[in-house]
């Protein structure tokens, strides 16, 4: 999960100032505050303190259907049937102890774990799962492939699909399960604030709730009591990244999941023995997406040539402070490490900087360079277009600027256009744009990613609103593979198909992949130990991911 784009901007501007201020106060800050930070630490040693940088104030709303749900609702209070860990590419059974997919791929049966209780003492039953999905479909929609959800016996739930649908496992498995005995009595589940949540998670008891901080205490009936080693979780509200970064630098929080510029200096250097960071590239792939409904972007050679002109090393270094790695020809982010086709990776050419080759390809495709060194289109007009990025995202803006400079070397003129994000996204949605820096779907299985990148089902004509496949690229060959993938029940077949999808992706270049979004995460192990690291990637350091509960059940107070 990458961070919200609009906020990042403000925070980068702010962070620059924060560094300035840090530099000003210099070493005295380090020496001066270590004493007071320690004193604070002992006073609240039992609570794991986490900042939330994009909420100035909290609203007591633990309804997972609310678009503005209180943090930790889906991480500490409610749990899902299984947990997929993108950092390692493995799946942990959670509320379900096991599952089996039908031979024909048209259903999956989950077996619920024995002995799981809700925080009010009631047992977890199949009806809970059935009710959860009924509510989810009614309130939020989606799950169109799902035909019926039925309880089987005392501990099994069977999901039947309209057609074979293998991506369903993670889609179903990662939804937060709600208690039927509570939610079936709520009159208006869309709008209920669910102030006293009943969940199966490790920390369900809302202890104090104030506008700028709240505390969740232990679930008295948790199914893994031996793993509840922290006394509770305390969330702090910050109206921007700078405040949260300050709290982190000051040692007031244990976990700092927000973006920190120059983290070595602002955060680590204050206490290198206890402070660590880890940014696995498991966020969504960030692409430079060209509107393929327009010429010359409908030409594969043009897309590949433009891609070869981009210096991704420079892009990640300047635009992303070197916090991530350049993309390769598979177009897959670190989230899909286990799915990557080694052949495609080895033979990769069009995502590597090669100005000569880019020039040759553009010449060959019929976009000649004039005497002034600038290329023209087939109709004689200059080869010029815009790259649209929201004004707020300063990091992506510098990415776009680097690209524009790179393109000048092959005689192509790109102008960076940066109105407000709302205007940019409105352009993406209706197809009224040349190109833009765009995120992509990020799911445990690569199905949605490829469907949104090159499935014809997601292509809408220009003028009609769409929320995926902004670049409007459809490939019938990819469609055939996607259909095959959906019907494939066993994992080996799925991997074979995804290998082919990557070959196809690399052949047609639907978009120009730049880099995988990193998942920010830093921690301070003065008070708690047992954090995930690059060497032990049992989860990512995100506080909003499905794997967050794995961290919450692994941490223990420092001795």
């Amino acid at each position: 999960m990458t961070q919200p784009r609009f906020l990042r901007s403000a925070r980068i501007a702010a962070a620059g100032l924060a560094i300035g201020a840090l530099a000003l106060t210099g070493c005295s800050a380090t020496a001066g505050n270590s004493g007071s930070a320690k004193a604070d630490a002992s006073a609240q040693s039992a609570l794991l303190t986490i900042p939330r940088e994009d909420m100035g104030t909290f609203v007591r709303n633990f309804n997972p259907f609310a678009p503005t749900v209180a943090p930790m609702t889906q991480q500490a209070i409610y749990e899902s049937l299984l947990i997929y860990n993108p950092a390692k590419g493995d799946t942990t059974p959670w509320l379900a102890s096991e599952w089996t997919a039908a031979e024909d791929g048209k259903s999956i049966t989950f077996t619920l774990r024995d002995g799981v209780k809700w925080s009010d003492g009631q047992p977890l039953v199949p009806a809970d799962v059935v009710t959860t999905f009924a509510l989810q479909k009614k309130i939020k929609g989606g799950y169109d492939y799902l035909d019926t959800v039925t309880a089987e016996g005392t501990n099994q739930v069977k999901f039947s699909f309209k057609t074979a649908w293998s991506p369903a496992l993670f889609d179903l498995g990662q939804l937060s399960i709600l208690p039927d005995h509570v939610w079936s009595k709520i009159a208006d589940p869309e709008k209920d604030a669910n102030e006293k949540p009943v969940g199966t998670g490790p920390y369900t008891e809302v202890d104090t709730f104030q506008a700028q901080s709240f505390v969740l205490k232990k679930n008295p009936n948790y199914w893994q009591p031996e793993k509840q080693k922290i006394a509770g979780i305390k969330m702090l509200a910050f109206a921007g990244n700078d405040g949260a970064n300050l709290a982190a630098a000051n040692g007031d929080v244990d976990w700092a999941p927000q973006y920190m510029p120059n983290i070595e200096k602002t955060f680590i250097s204050k206490d290198p023995d206890h402070r660590k960071y880890w940014f696995p590239p498991t966020g969504s792939m960030i692409n430079w997406q060209l509107n393929t409904a327009k010429a010359p972007f409908n030409d594969t050679d043009v897309r590949k040539a433009l891609s070869m002109a981009v210096d991704r090393e420079q892009v990640t270094k300047i635009g992303m402070s070197g916090y991530t790695k350049p993309a390769d020809c598979t177009g897959l982010s670190g989230n899909y490490e286990t799915w990557k086709n080694k052949d495609v990776q080895d033979k990769c050419d069009w995502t590597k900087l090669n100005v000569d080759e880019a020039n040759k390809l553009l010449d060959k495709a019929g976009y000649p360079k004039g005497s002034d060194g600038k290329r023209t289109l087939k109709d004689g007009k200059p080869f010029e277009f815009k790259i649209s990025v929201g004004a707020a995202s300063s990091d992506w803006l510098s990415v776009a600027n680097v690209i524009a400079q790179n393109l000048a070397e092959v005689g192509v003129t790109a102008k960076v256009d940066s109105p407000d994000w709302a205007a940019v996204v409105a352009g993406y949605e209706t197809g009224d744009f040349d190109s833009g820096i765009v995120w992509s779907a990020n799911d445990p299985s690569p199905y949605k990613y490829f469907a949104g990148m090159m499935g014809t089902a997601t292509v809408k004509p220009v003028g009609e609103k769409t929320f995926e496949n902004y670049h409007r690229f459809g490939d019938p060959k990819a469609d055939a593979l996607l259909t095959e993938f959906a019907a494939a029940a066993d994992e080996d077949t799925q991997h074979d198909i995804v290998d082919k999808l990557q070959e196809e992706y690399s052949a047609v270049a639907p978009a120009i992949p730049l880099f995988a979004g990193p998942e920010w995460g830093a921690y301070n192990n003065t008070r708690f130990t047992g954090w995930p690291t690059e060497e032990n990637p049992y989860a990512t350091l995100s506080v909003r991911a499905p794997t967050t509960v794995l961290v919450l059940t692994s941490l223990e107070p420092a001795k």
């Binding site: 503005t68 104030q210 700028q212 901080s213 300050l246 996204v425 990020n442």
Partner: protein, 325 residues
């Protein structure tokens, strides 16, 4: 009385114009809250959930005049709907829970800045060319022209982090419960110092200069010379004769500023993580949260107009010339 009625009529029209603009402006912005939210959460929201969310949040495609009629009706009856960025909390509740902190912060800072600034202005003008007059204005203007953000960050680091004199975030410590106790109130007071101080620092120079300049003009008036010739005490001349007459422009700016306090000190709230409406307004604009934006703008407009109206009435008391017209 006729004067007041006429002013009242004027304010009603101004109010209608501003709430109409308030209705139109967000609707001229491109995009809608749901796609905005989608872009914001990026890969965390499924495209097929968007329609459902639109319905849930009541983003409507009705003709604009129908929306306008509804809007006016809601404004008059005080129903401002449900906030989108704070769904499903009603707009009135969002504003009510935060406007108090903003008023406390903005009000305290304004009163201190105005009182201190005006007093300094009076003294500077009275001892023209003296120490206060030659040293303070340039210093205060220098400080005031710092980018606020920078100044606030600097103060936060110096007094909050390095020296540890004041808390560095929030309106009160999260270890104590709000109550009408000495402990809680002093805690709130401590949390107020840094944010209020930085606002005072950047605004006090303006107050001082304004007052100083009018005071100098007033000091040249014949009645001051007359009072001096009569041998009145200098203090009396300074406050009762000169300052009282030089006050008028300051009263106007005080009234105007009072109205704007409601809008919140956005940057202050962001730097100090203070729970006011300023940050909420920024959020509402970024998230295209029409109902909350409208609720906040309405509150701010009403506050500004009300403050102006009160100043108008006060003026009649203070300045007889206004009465004559």
């Amino acid at each position: 009385m006729r004067f007041i009625l006429r002013r009242l009529g004027f304010y009603l029209i101004a109010f209608w114009v501003s709430i109409t603009l308030n209705f139109l402006l967000p609707r001229f912005m491109p995009g809608d809250p749901v796609s905005r939210m989608f872009a914001r959460t990026q890969d965390r929201m499924q495209p097929e959930q968007i329609e459902a969310l639109r319905k849930l949040l009541g983003v409507d495609d009705r003709p604009i005049w129908e929306q306008y009629v509804d809007y006016l009706h809601n404004m008059i009856t005080g129903q401002m709907g449900v906030s989108i960025s704070r769904f499903p909390t009603p707009v009135t509740e969002v504003i009510a829970s935060q406007v108090g902190w903003t008023l406390l912060l903005g009000g305290t800072a304004l009163v201190i800045a105005a009182v201190v600034g005006n007093l300094l202005g009076i003294l500077a003008a009275w001892r023209r060319g003296g120490a206060i007059d030659s040293a303070l204005p340039p210093i205060l203007i220098f400080i005031g022209s710092f980018p606020y953000f920078w100044l606030a960050m600097g103060a936060l680091y110096l007094f909050g982090v390095t020296l540890g004199w004041f808390p560095i975030r929030h309106a009160f410590s999260d270890t104590i419960e709000p109550a009408f106790s000495w402990e809680f109130m002093s805690d709130v007071g401590m949390h107020l110092v840094l944010p209020a101080l930085t606002i005072v620092l950047v605004s006090v120079g303006g107050w001082m200069l304004g007052m100083r300049n009018t005071m100098i003009a007033t000091n040249a008036e014949d009645y001051i010379t007359m009072a001096e010739a009569k041998g009145l005490r200098p203090g009396r001349i300074m406050f009762r004769y000169a300052a009282r007459n030089a006050m008028l422009p300051s009263v106007t700016s005080f009234g105007m500023s009072l109205g704007f306090v409601v809008g919140g000190a956005l940057l202050t709230e962001v730097v100090f993580a203070y729970p006011g409406v300023g940050y909420q307004l920024l959020n509402a604009v970024q998230g295209l949260d029409y109902p909350l934006m409208q609720g906040l703008f309405l509150t701010i407009t009403a506050a500004v107009l009300l403050a102006n109206f009160l100043v108008d009435i006060l003026y009649v008391r203070l300045d007889p010339r206004v009465r004559a017209n």
